[in-house]
Symmetry: C2
Subunit: 225 residues, 2 copies
DNA sequence: TAACGGATTTAGACACAACTAAACTTAGTT
DNA sequence: AACTAAGTTTAGTTGTGTCTAAATCCGTTA
């Protein structure tokens, strides 16, 4: 009854779709993300399509049906809430919570998830800044901007850090650029695309690989504490 | 890599062994406990024996090897600790925590379990009174007595309630006989074997089905707060 | 438009974990 | 000692989820 692998496929299809809203989700991209062969992904697509959780046409990738998206959002909700729980209640470093949550997300009864949410006082995002769907799968996406695109002089707040970029989370924590941090972009080099930011009194020069993995929002809300 | 069903079999074999230390654990008893057919249990026994987690001789039941017992104790530890967590931190009624823990026990990284243990301040038992193995699988069994066997007049403390007796947990909670409660046995009827206890100022007459599902300890430790 | 090459699917295999039905063992009873 | 009934194992099937190797498809390039 469980459907462990199923849930991971659905959630990964959801995330891939969210990352590239244009094109359909290809067999290869799912296989790479899941760490399985393309043949395995094809086989799973057939089962998911048979159960009407995805729409699948040979050689044309997949998309989630209504039912599939609902299941995917449930997994994503459990994942991000348990990440918050692990970070905030058990004080586990944010570099580790994604892997742990990947394991736990399939075994959490709804009741437990809902109570965790209440205990955490209904957080909006996971520790990396990704939004947490509510109990009904609803999701509010704030307007974010890539740090790469922030014009010099602007003060912004770090909102989200891509948790999948190798080594980034530890680096970001070290620099004091975690979600919530107030920073100011002081320079942008148009040749090598480096961005210089001032954070907590220190200046850091960030390469493109970092600046396009960090999202920020206008640091304007005065109703913040 | 998971080994979901495996873990449940090992833990159930462990618990059955603990409940009947005399005889070997039979195929049928495991099948009933697990809710599967005897044929399924036999098939699993072969895999577990192949991996040297149990000793299995046809028609003679099974016993855990060293390695098997270590794994089983790990599952039992996770189960009972997460029960404590669900009850104490999330305030889930103790009637429900066993079922939830059964689901969650396979998906909790050791690091998470250890931190939960610290958060809970190293509890000795699950909410039902069963001992929690430590990180190394060590386990201290206090000397307990069945409520059925307590002589009239003796004051005792409820130590453990069998979580598998249908409806018992809700009934026990209603009567105020949860682990930790101080009670006194006032009468024992030698014909119908009913036991009368006084708990929290009220008297209750308990049938055999209840009195042999509750363990107690001498209520003597004055170092109890 | 024909061929190439990368992506995808099919074919065939395997391990796990469950089932039903049939055969077998064992222990207790005539 | 043979019989029988309960318990157990075997045999055969199913569905999931993975793999490798071999076909197949399709967009681009010649
Ligand atoms: Mn997962
Ligand atoms: Mn996250
Ligand atoms: Mn379990
Ligand atoms: Mn318990």
């Amino acid at each position: 009854m469980g459907g462990l692998a199923r849930e991971d496929y659905l959630a990964d299809i959801y995330r891939l779709q969210a990352e590239h809203p244009e094109d359909p989700v290809s067999t290869g991209s799912v296989a790479v993300r899941r760490g399985v062969t393309a043949a395995s992904a094809t086989a799973m697509f057939k089962r998911l399509a048979r159960d009407e959780l995805i729409v699948y046409r040979n050689y044309s990738g997949v998309s989630l049906t209504q039912a599939g998206e609902e299941l995917a959002l449930g997994v994503v909700r459990r994942h991000r809430l348990v990440e918050r729980f692990l970070a905030d209640v058990l004080h586990i470093p944010w570099q580790q919570v994604d892997a742990y949550a990947d394991q736990m997300e399939h075994a959490l009864p709804d009741d437990v998830v809902d109570r965790m949410e209440a205990l955490l006082e209904n957080p909006y995002t996971c520790p990396h800044g990704y939004p947490i769907p509510d109990k009904h799968g609803r999701l509010t996406q704030p307007e974010l901007m890539l740090l790469r695109d922030v014009p010099p002089g602007l003060a912004v707040r770090v909102a989200r850090v891509n948790e999948r970029v190798e080594g980034l989370l530890a680096y970001v924590a070290e620099l004091g650029l975690m979600p919530g941090s107030l920073i100011r972009v002081t320079r942008r080099n148009n040749v090598d695309l480096n961005v210089t930011v001032e954070a907590g009194g220190r200046e850091h020069i960030l390469g493109l690989r970092v600046s396009e993995a960090i999202w920020v929002e206008r640091a304007s809300s005065p109703d913040e504490a």
